[in-house]
Symmetry: C2
Subunit: 333 residues, 2 copies
DNA sequence: GTGAAAGCGCTAACAT
DNA sequence: ATGTTAGCGCTTTCAC
């Protein structure tokens, strides 16, 4: 159905190569011919076949963005950042959702060996090995950039935030506000949450707070399960008087539970979340957040990728750390 | 770098066609040869080139999802719905963000003629013509499904919600709660907001509320501009005592402004929003929402598309209307 | 049961 | 300035 270069050639009594060259404004072709061809192309809405081009130039003009979830402020903002640079570069963005399934992620990476994309931007799922062979193999064959959630031991470019530091400072803030019994809610085996946990623990150590083992609640991927275990912890014997939620969704669970259980924030329990919710200030009560520069992270990661695609640089050793921003609100007053 | 069928053939001393057939489990090929080839393919991580395949079978296995924004609960949920069926069908999802720019949307549609995708799912930007030629031309050439925001006069499949009805009912609810001077905040030239406006007006007419012209505030795409005009309206001479926000973002502006201006919700002004915010109940005060079945809409739209791709049906005349759900909360008590 | 060859739409090296 | 040809990786007749 779509019109091809061959048809143009036939209709205009030219060779395909002449048309091809005219279309790419080659100096070899006369102005008159160029005009003819361009006019015809315009009128017939000629658009070159993406696949034929890809096959020839070994460039698909596609990049992949692999993320656990799109209904999440961090990832949707990051995708916006990525898209902003991809659009500029004339690239198309394939979005792959893993829904936090490592198995699904491996499948996707395998598919990505088909040449469908020229590069990969990825934020890994909980449970992916820090030295995953699948990730490192693909990274060897195609420009590959981790953002936010990385495989620590895979040699590839990385764009992250200061998770350890920001968690450390947020925890100190909580302790400064008088918390004696803080709880860190971890979102499962993930580079970022582990960093954040370590920052949390360092603050505890600094202030001489003991029984650190019991101060971490580990969540998994099952939402209702998580809600149950968080509730148990919040209403149980050794109630925490402060909570750090390692990801946004867990903070929302905490709010819902406190609501239902009539636990007052911040009087009974102070809350801080790693979250990029723009409307955190409109919650009841307004939520203190560690904000990551999500849009910028996406942008930076994408720029790195395009640098690699342009062969400007070898990005494998790049490791960009962007600062988070803490915003204190009612929930931790 | 990736391994090709040709290399397999050479290494195994076979013809490419034999390998191709073995790989697709053709009856012509001996079991022994099949085993050899499969084993080799396995070991060398052979993945067929996506582009060569597409060029040959004229099937890219890609679909496009064109939306104004991804950092929005409705669209991110809808994308999840779409992705769930695309994954099942072994399809890849290209996401195109228009950021509510009609011009950008036209560009994208033009690009989509390249055969890069086998089908298109789209929710149009504000300002796109209800009988856009660009949309209708593409729809003529490739399976095409509108969801939520449609071009009324373009012949293509559509999946929408009962905008008129739900807005009508929400407005009646507002009036029942005692509002005498309601305001509808419109998000610009869009099928859905126009339907919602009409539903709003019908309720006003039914209850004999006059000067209907002044009861609509029309917003555009400039966020700060919108905030200015909403604020002016909320603090101005003829303050509304009830507000219906036609899209989520506008509702958030209303909340922010009320916060800053010490306007009490619902005492001074009641608020209802068309919104898919899951945490609407955690806002201060909890926000009454008209929820659209966003995930399901994406799913249904995608299913329609795949029906068309499988040539099962001609979907052009399909017009699915799904019900919204109103949830009353504090903001409209 | 296996292989040779054409062709999908395009580009680029090489004629003319 | 224009045309001829080969080939990107694969599938698909059509021979053998």
């Amino acid at each position: 159905m779509p019109i091809t270069i061959r048809k143009i050639a036939k209709d205009l009594n030219l060779a395909v190569s002449t048309v091809s060259k005219a279309l790419s404004d080659s100096y070899e072709i006369s102005d008159e011919t160029k005009r003819m061809v361009l006019k015809y192309a315009q009128e017939h809405q000629y658009v070159p076949s993406a696949y034929a081009g890809s096959l020839k130039n070994r460039r698909s003009k596609n990049i992949a963005v692999v993320v656990p979830e799109v209904a999440d402020t961090f990832f949707s903002n990051a995708i916006n950042g990525i898209d902003s640079v991809a659009q500029e570069e004339g690239y198309h963005v394939l979005v792959y959702l893993t829904h936090e399934s490592a198995a699904r992620e491996y499948e996707i990476l395998h598919e990505l060996k088909s040449g469908r994309v020229d590069g990969v931007l990825i934020s890994v799922s909980a449970g992916v090995d820090s030295n995953s062979r699948a990730h490192s193999e693909l990274a060897d064959n195609v420009p590959f950039v981790f953002f936010d959630r990385v495989c620590k031991d895979v040699a590839a470019a990385k764009v992250v935030t200061d998770d350890f530091e920001s968690s450390y400072r947020a925890t100190l803030h909580l302790l400064d506000k008088g918390c004696k019994s803080p709880l860190y809610i971890d979102a499962g085996p993930l580079s970022i949450t582990e960093e954040r946990r370590q920052g949390f623990l360092k603050a505890l150590t600094l202030r001489g707070i003991s029984s650190q083992e019991e101060r971490t609640l580990i969540c998994a991927q099952d939402e209702s399960q998580n809600i149950v275990s968080i509730r148990r912890r919040l209403v149980g014997k050794h109630k925490p008087d402060g909570v750090i939620a390692s990801v946004e969704k867990l903070a929302m669970h905490v709010y819902e539970i406190c609501n239902e259980e009539k636990i007052r924030i911040p009087e009974d329990v102070k809350v801080i979340a790693f979250s990029n919710l723009r409307i955190a200030g409109l919650l009841a009560p307004p939520l203190s957040c560690v904000y990551q520069p999500s849009f910028e992270m996406g942008q930076r990661a994408a720029k790195l990728l395009f640098d690699a695609l342009a062969k400007k640089t070898n990005i494998v050793r790049e490791h960009i750390v962007l600062p988070s921003r803490f915003e204190q609100r009612e929930s931790s007053k």
